[in-house]
């Protein structure tokens, strides 16, 4: 990314928002992926079909005919 801003004490080349943003995005992607894999990947999810939801909501008894 080639957009830059200048500073009275710094050369224009010193300010590189594109590089800064890319580094920040990389850190974010690593942290986000880590959290997802550690806590939220499909293996961590409980079953949530109709039967499980009925059991949780109304303490329903089971039936062969129902999903």
């Amino acid at each position: 990314m080639n957009f830059r801003v200048s500073h009275p004490c710094k050369p224009v080349e010193a300010a590189r928002p594109g590089r800064d943003v890319l580094v920040a995005l990389a850190i974010k992607a690593v942290l986000l992926s880590g959290i997802y894999l550690l806590f939220f990947a499909p293996a961590h999810r409980p079953p949530s079909d109709a039967g499980a939801t009925a059991e949780a909501l109304i303490g329903s008894t089971h039936s062969k005919d129902m999903p």
Binding site: A15, P17, I27, K28, L32, I35, F39, T53
Partner: protein, 527 residues
């Protein structure tokens, strides 16, 4: 039954991630529009300082956007893992606006933000202006779809319950999109974002003016921010009034709690500007009231009552009792889907099924609940009074402060004395965090005020939580704190860095007829 610890942790995690996410959102909403306004002036006048303003505030917008993008996806992680029953029960409806947001608004925003930054060399002035406006529109459309989803949690409309699939299923997407709560919430929220953007630009401009740096740039930026901010701050109050009116229609308990109105007052009800709610004694001490005001705001009439908490608890109790047959019928239907009596009973009492589910906190089968348990469940429909009462008042107080700040700024700006009014500039600088505080308090009032419901009147929060180990939720919460704190530190660090560097000024004007001219910054000339 899920333990309270798990429920509290799951709620805390969702609240923390939502509130962190909303640190980035209002600035994106506000800055995107301010940048589009500045670039419009540049295209109309051709004066380079407006292009410098567009570029500088555009860089700060880009940093905030990059830091904020995908921070909301963590809430979607949680839907599947921490809120599995919520996702199953209402995912068919709640997921629709979320999907549209991702497919339409986010990609619109994401695509054009690339063109905004990389297109200065490749697009004509007018083409680039169109791109900038599309970024702003995309940001606002993102907010629209998210708020449509959220509004459905406050006022579930256009759907019915299917006992076979155990899902709420969509009847009318039109009702979901044109939900009156969504419309009021959208305009109120984006206006608050505009105020945030305006305060951000004003505060940084004030800092430049106080330090005698980039004076012409800062004066113009401050003037744009003040004008835009004044209109937006007035809109927030007017549109907030519409949100209040919606509460009267759809969330009476939330309104009564906001007002700490324990008993129904004769119409038109008074508005409490001060009071000390006592949740144990069920009364409010040291009240200072403005006669008629609440009645006029909330009902837009002088002869309609605003129901108080006690009366609403009695109403909730009646709905719990009415819902018990629906709960029993649903249990029967889960065993025998063909039972015609149960099906008819469920149909008759379906509207109150959610209220009967409140009893599941105390008893496995709501039909076995005692009178005392029904009373306790009815009082569970009252969210925490004092935090909501005070959060609302601080939010409203800040809203009026913003109007005053922008009005004073407008006075100085119209007399071209903005750079000399140092007291105003210092107040404007120190006001920088206030719009975020107001916005977070607004969300607290909206979401904590919705409790005990995940979906108002349909699904109690404690039944929506997944049965996963509380330790797992605590660990992932710690992970989120690290994640968001890291992002917040990087965001503040980068914003401070580029604010201190200041704008690039004096770059040569572009020749529209000749097509793309100077690069984003290379080739520009510092004044």
């Amino acid at each position: 039954m899920n333990s309270l610890n798990l429920i509290d942790l799951s709620r805390l995690q969702f609240a923390a991630t939502a509130m962190y996410h909303f640190l980035f959102v209002p600035l994106t909403l506000g800055l995107s529009l301010l940048v589009a306004i500045m670039e419009s002036v540049y295209v109309m006048t051709g004066r380079p300082i407006w292009r410098d303003m567009t570029r500088f505030w555009g860089i700060l917008f880009g940093i905030n956007f990059a830091m904020g993008v995908a921070t909301g996806i963590t809430m979607e992680f949680q839907f599947g893992t921490n809120w599995a029953y919520y996702s199953h029960y209402v995912g068919d409806i709640f997921g629709v606006p979320l999907a549209i947001e991702g497919l339409m608004a986010f990609f619109l925003e994401g695509t054009f933000i690339g063109l905004f930054f990389f297109g200065w060399d490749r697009l004509s002035r007018r083409q680039h202006l169109v791109v900038t406006w599309l970024v702003a529109i995309g940001s606002n459309l993102s907010a629209l779809w998210i708020l449509i989803a959220n509004a459905w949690m406050q006022n579930p409309t256009g759907a019915h319950f299917n006992s076979t699939t155990m899902r709420m299923e969509l009847d009318s997407i039109r009702d979901v999109i044109f939900n009156p709560v969504a419309q009021a919430k959208f305009v109120h929220t984006v206006s608050a974002g505009y105020v945030t953007g305006a305060i951000f630009v004003l505060a940084i401009s004030a800092w430049y003016l106080l330090n005698r740096r980039h004076v012409e740039f800062a004066k113009r930026s401050a003037t744009v921010a003040i004008s835009f901010g004044l209109a937006s701050a007035l809109s927030v109050v007017v549109l907030g009034d519409e949100s209040g009116y919606n509460l009267t229609e759809h969330q009476k308990m939330k309104l009564a709690v906001i007002e700490s109105e324990w008993h129904t007052e004769p119409a038109p009800a008074a508005f409490e500007i001060f009071g000390i709610p006592d949740t144990k004694a069920h009364e409010t001490h040291a009240q200072i009231k403005i006669p008629w005001m609440l009645g006029l705001i909330a009902t837009r009439s002088s002869d309609t009552e605003v129901p108080g908490i006690f009366e609403l608890v009695q109403h909730a109790r009646q709905r719990i009792v009415n819902g018990i047959p629906a709960s029993s019928a649903l249990r029967t239907l889960r065993k025998d889907p063909g039972d015609p009596v149960a099906r008819e009973t469920l149909k008759t009492h379906a509207e109150d099924l959610g209220y009967a589910l409140l009893l599941r906190k105390y008893v496995d089968d709501p039909a076995q609940a005692s009178e005392e348990q029904i009373d306790r469940a009815a009082w569970d429909t009252v969210p925490s009074v004092a935090p909501i009462f005070w959060s609302f008042r601080v939010m409203v107080g800040l809203g009026f402060f913003f109007i005053g700040l922008f009005a004073v700024g407008f006075y100085f700006a119209t007399r071209r004395r903005i750079a000399e009014s140092r007291v105003f500039l210092k107040i404007a600088l120190w006001a920088l965090p206030l719009p975020w505080i107001a916005a977070e308090l607004g969300w607290f009032v909206a979401e904590h005020g919705r409790q005990p419901w995940a979906i108002e009147g349909v699904l109690p929060t404690f039944l929506a939580v997944s049965p996963i180990p509380a330790s797992s939720v605590a660990l992932s919460l710690a992970g989120f704190v690290v994640f968001y704190s890291t992002l917040a530190v990087i965001d503040v660090f980068l914003l401070k860095k580029y604010v201190k560097l200041g704008p690039e000024t004096g770059s040569p004007p572009r020749d529209v007829a000749a097509g793309p001219a100077s690069g984003l910054i290379p080739g520009t000339v510092r004044r």
